[in-house]
């Protein structure tokens, strides 16, 4: 197949990616969008196999089959609550693939200086994506501590790594060779840099990290595209890179912090919130049921705790009971609730909550005064009124779901420990707040039990 013809097919593939991403913007068309994008990928791959450059099929076939099996199995098996970890690992495998493609491109004859720079970039971005994703996976799956790891001279160390990267990169450029020691140094330093970039970021900030790594995996593919002078890699990589940046930006806005602030400072290290004192008003399932039965509008506000307790199914069950009882039920999801963008929405969708009941923060806040009961399930920071009131709070200025303005608030909580960011939450002491202590799933089940009596 001639290069021109291949490029024509690549244009078709790129168009399918664009249409696919566009259709992903509405739940009604999203399945088709994903399919279109997959067809685009298939076209790009098949056409590449027919290009004259590809001679040896056997190894590739083995490699592709192994990859497809692993990917398919992982996609099938993963629990929806573990989706952030899964996406982190997929990001990582995309990153390492780009690193290797860049590395292999060194073996192409007649590489120019521009191509060598592209190769270095794909190794750098790919390596950072790989190492960063593995650390993110470790934090999300709690294989390692999910807290921010901060140590003295961290910035100095990072700066030294960056300088070393530039120096090694430059030395490599002066004498590009297949076995240049500086090449290996760049690979090692990129991996190290990826680790260092993610360890100072704490659990509640993970949505930002995941979006950013998503962006990097695209940019790595893009750089690999420059390294092998391939259009489709550049186009698709740049689309993903841009998408990731937009998501990152949305996440940062939802936390009222700049990207630099998320990346370079451990959460909670800067300010300490004023301690609020008060008395919590506990409630039992029986009384909770009475209040819920009388309510004509109920909003559930889920957080990461719902994922941990696997409570999404019982939450939906309670929601249905309340609806049958005549109440208007909605599920209000904060943009950074959970460990990745849209995490809670996926869990609720898994539990068969119709997507027209999932409402965003900006939709619920203007009418929160008219909500009879807001049920907070495993969320803390995203409903913490200190974000509005306490200038000393580390989350001051972050937009929150104003559940404290609802007529009654139920807070489901395991026990009285402060949430992830270690901020004290005045919501717990609110006059209209009732605390339902215990495992979220058990608590909701108990309330359902009361309804069924």
């Amino acid at each position: 197949m001639s290069q021109e013809l291949i490029n024509v097919f690549y244009i078709v593939a790129a168009a399918l990616f664009v249409f696919g991403l566009k259709q992903l913007s509405s739940p009604a068309t999203a399945v088709r969008g994903n399919l279109l994008s997959a067809v685009g990928m298939l076209i790009a791959v098949v056409v590449t196999l027919f290009s004259q450059g590809v001679l040896e099929f056997q190894w590739m076939a083995v490699a592709a089959i192994v990859g497809a099996l692993i990917g398919a199995l992982a996609a099938q098996r993963v629990a929806m609550t573990a989706m952030p970890e899964m996406v982190a690992l997929f990001n990582g495998s995309g990153g390492v693939a780009s690193l290797l493609v860049g590395w292999a491109a060194l073996y192409n004859p007649g590489n120019t200086a521009f191509i060598h720079i592209s190769i270095l970039l794909s190794i750098l971005i790919g390596g950072v994506t790989l190492a960063g994703s593995i650390i993110a996976w470790g934090k999300l799956s709690e294989v390692m501590t999910s807290r921010a790891l901060v140590f003295a001279a961290q910035r100095l160390v990072n700066a030294l790594i960056l300088i070393a990267l530039v120096v090694c990169g430059t030395l490599f450029m002066l004498a590009p060779a297949l076995d240049s020691p500086y090449l290996y140094a760049v690979i090692a330093l990129s991996l190290l840099f990826g680790v260092m970039a993610v360890i100072p970021i704490g659990g509640a900030d993970m949505p930002v990290v995941i979006s950013l790594l998503n962006s990097y995996s695209g940019l790595a593919a893009c750089a690999a595209g420059f390294a092998i002078q391939n259009n489709i890699l550049i186009v698709a990589g740049a689309l993903v890179g841009a998408a990731g940046i937009i998501l990152t930006n949305i996440m940062c806005k939802a936390m009222n912090r700049s990207l630099a602030n998320v990346l370079f400072s451990g959460f909670g290290a800067v300010k300490t919130a004023s301690k609020v004192e008060g008395e919590v008003k506990p409630i039992n399932a029986e009384d909770a049921q009475l209040i819920l039965e009388a309510a004509s509008s109920v909003a559930f506000v889920p957080g990461y705790g719902m994922a941990v307790a696997q409570a999404q199914h019982v939450v939906r069950e309670l929601g249905e009971i309340l609806e049958k009882n005549g109440a208007e039920v909605s599920y209000a999801v904060h943009p950074v609730a959970g460990r990745m963008p849209g995490h809670m929405n996926v869990l609720l969708a898994e539990a068969n909550v119709p997507y027209d009941q999932l409402v965003e923060m900006d939709d619920i806040n203007p009418r929160i005064e008219h909500i009879d009961v807001a049920v907070v399930i495993g969320a803390n920071d995203v409903v913490n009124p200190a974000a509005r009131q306490d200038e000393n709070s580390p989350i001051y200025g972050m937009p929150i779901i104003n559940v404290d303005h609802a007529r009654t608030v139920f807070v489901l909580k395991r026990s009285m420990a402060s949430g992830f960011a270690g901020v004290d939450n005045p919501l717990f002491f609110g006059a209209n707040t009732r605390m339902l202590f215990g495992d979220a799933k058990a608590s909701i089940s108990a309330v359902i039990g009361e309804f069924k009596r």
């Binding site: 696919g20 991403l21 566009k22 992903l24 913007s25 739940p27 009604a28 399945v31 994903n34 399919l35 997959a38 196999l49 450059g53 590809v54 001679l55 040896e56 190894w59 590739m60 990859g67 497809a68 692993i70 990917g71 398919a72 996609a75 929806m80 997929f90 495998s93 995309g94 390492v96 693939a97 290797l100 493609v101 297949l178 998503n214 995996s217 790595a220 593919a221 595209g225 092998i228 002078q229 489709i232 890699l233 186009v235 990589g237 740049a238 689309l239 890179g241 841009a242 940046i245 998501l247 949305i250 005549g326 999801v333 990745m340 963008p341 849209g342 929405n345 996926v346 969708a349 119709p354």
Partner: protein, 101 residues
């Protein structure tokens, strides 16, 4: 010239990406991310050309490993996105669709 032309493609794609994504509702952020992630597996195309070039054993090996990882990314990414999106359903009709509150 080639480099300038590719950079041109890059710039347009980035703007297009910004335009496409800025309108996605928060509800779909996770599938969007895994769907976009699957697209970043496009590096598979590059891996296939490196693995199959038959020029150098090391390059072929690097390419083959890259093919494995990129395929994980592509196949896993699309399947998991599809699985997630299949869960997003509109309210079924049996329960009266517009119940008065």
């Amino acid at each position: 010239m080639e480099a300038v032309y590719l950079a041109f493609v890059l710039m347009l794609s980035i703007f297009l990406g910004f335009e496409l994504i800025s309108k996605v509702p928060a509800t779909l952020h996770t599938p969007l991310m895994s769907g976009a992630n699957a697209i970043s597996g496009i590096t598979l195309v590059g891996a296939l050309t490196s693995a199959g070039s038959g020029m150098d054993a090391v390059a072929s090996l690097l390419g083959a490993v890259a093919v494995t990882f990129a395929t994980i990314n592509v196949v896993g990414g699309y399947l998991v996105t599809n699985r997630m999106l299949g869960m997003f359903k509109k309210k079924e009709s049996p329960r009266q669709p517009e119940a008065p509150a």
